[in-house]
Symmetry: C3
Subunit: 358 residues, 3 copies
């Protein structure tokens, strides 16, 4: 929590506005969270994930894990959820991610906490809002980093007359490099990997750059589901929960947390990418259009690149671009138009590296 | 279970009617329940609770708990849920609570069971129903009391000609006294309490009698959510689950379990009372008006009193009156009118003691 | 996974069609699953089950279990869920079950995996589809069978010109025999069974063949609930999840997973059969009519038969026929008409053996 955080006289918290963020500031986020098998079950019920490593202690153990690790995206949702009250409360747009890497495996019983450092600020010319750049880090109870990423959001100003800070826009890598990834994979023995139990015989070598994979199935979102998910992650962003306010707002509906879409797409991607059991890192994720309960989400992926993983001869990395689309099949791979804008119906465009057996 | 409990010839249970309750009767309730981390995760998903002590084993351990304790209200819901088939099945109104104290901490793996003693009965002059007073106790698997409270409900008679019992109305304390509270707090070392991780720097000394705190956020209830919650607590009261019957009833809707409102309000109260991590006891809770799916719940609290806790120099107690209100912001603190009746929209009026660092 | 399984060039899986199934084929299903207390909590929240053995470690331990066992039907849903991508994906009807027996207790931490053997195939005269008979087995991480059953489904052909296989219809027992059942019960000491905590004093001897038991309460299904349940079981059948497609289909609605109805009926049956804590085996389950969110489910049971359990003098078996009915009370026991067809509103007709204290 930021000691300078704006507070009403009645001690409630209204979150940080653009001018509250200072370059170099460190924000210790509240609400450390012990992640448990209870969270794993709820995550399965919310998304229907079938990746065998995260589903079965026996399967995970057979390849070298002490037990089934916590799903990478569950780690992400928990870590980012803690940053929301301090970073996002007055945000009007989630602009992007960079240098997003999973750094250590997480297991049931581990406690995660988040800290952010302000690495850039730039007021907009309209003087009503500005972009805040942070680097957020999730650590476990032993102080080890489990996840680190940079993120930037557009945040409103409280006082339109507050002077603009000196603009600083951090240099961020356009993508994460597989050679630096893999820290969240323990030493593994892929000779124990059972392809029948995993659900697919397809290994790294069976994919080629340019492959397009339709994940086929569609999942319709219900209000209760996205609310349960977002609360599970202790993410408090009001637009997801308050129909009384949202009903009179721009969309008339509660907005589905963008991370919910990410996890639906990831679960759908099992069909075609069943052995891509680990997300190494994320190059970017754009929430292209809002999503609401009643939307049916479909997904497809393109293989953008392949890379070896240093010192892991038994595994390889694929760079994927996964699109989540609402209310239309992905048989024709709806993505970006010639001018670079997204086709109608695209709600998520995600670029990330996964690891799978070689 | 009460051996005299009315049963159909086909062995199902129809619950106790007013004339089935006898002064001094002890009712052993069914369905002992082992509370687990699975329940903790669901509780978090249902309410979004962020109190650090109940969220993180590491945080709890740092102040002297062996691990993160089970949320006080989760203990309450589980204990009272067991009493419902025997006490509430033919109840038409939940009238009140008194002498409600948490008596021992509960941890994942503990098994809770409930017993009630009938401590008063008074038929109404209309001879159609009467008030039943019980004292209910929840114990763990070692036989230690974890929660005790008195409660009274209005219950229908089965046989309108059944003679009225001698009326007995128990003398119950108007409020619980902090000096007698705190048994559910283990020995604690508050020097390990991390205010940044907890989410607020506000301690007992920062609150004054008369403070009014708007908890700001609103939470819209969904049918699936309140049903999942109520079943999680193994509470079988039919009005929460059966739209086929309720659709033709007075409200046309399934009634949301009052305890669901209590927990929503408690979770919302984190904003402004983040360090009030333990509920010592309850002076009363009135379900002022019914609530239904679609309602957006807001909350605010007033500090009614402050007290020291005997032998715990590092902590203090606040007496809070928390109102849950539907479909309106609490910026203007909607509560009671001059004549003592509640303002429109108030659904819950709760008076309780909490403990926080001093 | 079946190596011959049809795959799109883009590596997704479209499931097996009728002509893909060969007599004697063994299919190793994907997605082994460690069942945990998280799953137990969700199961309780979904169905409100109150059977004391599955609710309380202390209660279970008192009669000889090491701890509370996983609910029999939860074991069933997890095991059958794994077979769906390979067996049911192109099925148009679920025709029946036989020789369905629980074979070993399952505890939190156990990992379940499923394997099926094709034991019969018979193309229909219309040459568009045919019946596939499989025997499916769920095993734990030690390789011990926990559940075995035969099942037959009607599956579409991909290629209408594919030649019909030689028809084989397996001889399956019309019912399971109590004398062979009970393997999923550990050695038990029923002297430790607490009838008050269990919720009913009714033992095996209190039931007679021909008894009809109305389970009284009704449960209204919500979209989020059946979706959460079906995903929890990692059951991917599309008709349960995709309103975009189902909205244009025959019913206009997402179909509720038949197993969800089975578990609602089982939970409702606690009222009247509270001590029937173990399902020994199933003789059959017919999903008589489709069910959708908004349906209110009621249930009633008839005692078809009684039997002793070999070597277990403290327990007996009841053969039950449980009907789940939508949108009507079961006070008049709606079941089958004189001509053997089901009365309107019946959605499930289940014939199974349960064990209870003698």
């Amino acid at each position: 929590m930021n000691p300078k955080q704006a507070q009403q006289p009645d001690k409630t918290v209204t979150g940080n506005y653009f001018e509250d963020f200072k370059l170099g500031q460190e924000i210790v986020h509240a609400t450390p969270r012990t992640v448990t098998v209870g969270d794993v079950s709820l995550f399965t019920a919310l998304y229907g994930s079938r990746f065998a490593v995260q589903s079965s202690d026996a399967f995970a153990h057979a390849i070298g894990y002490p037990r089934s690790p916590i799903d990478d995206l569950l780690v992400f949702h928990v870590v980012i959820g803690k940053t929301v009250p301090d970073i996002s409360r007055n945000a009007i747009a989630n602009l992007g991610y960079a240098e997003f890497c999973f750094l250590a495996p997480v297991y049931p019983g581990d406690t995660l906490a988040s800290v952010s450092e302000v690495i850039g600020v730039k007021e907009n010319s309209n003087k009503k809002n500005g972009t805040v750049y942070v680097r957020s880090t999730g650590r476990n109870q032993r102080g080890h980093k489990v996840l680190s990423y940079a993120r930037w959001v557009m945040v409103n100003k409280r006082d339109l007359d507050a002077p603009a800070p000196d603009p600083v826009v951090p240099k961020l890598a356009a993508s994460v490099y597989p050679a630096t990834l893999g820290a969240a994979l323990p030493p593994l023995d892929m000779s124990g990997y059972n392809y029948a139990l995993a659900g697919s015989p397809k290994r790294w070598g069976d994919y080629a750059v340019g492959d397009k994979i339709d994940h086929v199935d569609g999942q319709t979102i219900e209000e209760a589901e996205h609310q349960l998910a977002t609360r599970l992650f202790q993410n408090t962003a009001r637009v997801h929960f308050n129909q009384h306010v949202e009903g009179k707002g721009r969309f008339g509906r509660r907005l589905v947390y963008g991370g919910h879409l990410i996890s639906i797409a990831r679960a759908l991607s099992f069909n075609g990418l069943a052995n891509a059991f680990h997300i190494l890192g994320l190059n970017g994720a754009r929430h292209v259009a809002p999503s609401f309960a009643g939307d049916t989400i479909y997904a497809w992926s393109e293989v953008l690149d392949k890379a070896e993983l240093p010192a892991r001869f038994e595994m390889g990395a694929l760079r994927l671009r996964t699109f989540a689309v609402k209310d239309q099949s992905c048989a024709d791979f709806p993505g970006v138009k010639a001018d670079g804008s997204h086709e109608d119906g695209v709600v998520l465009d995600m670029d990330y590296w996964v690891a799978l057996p070689r």
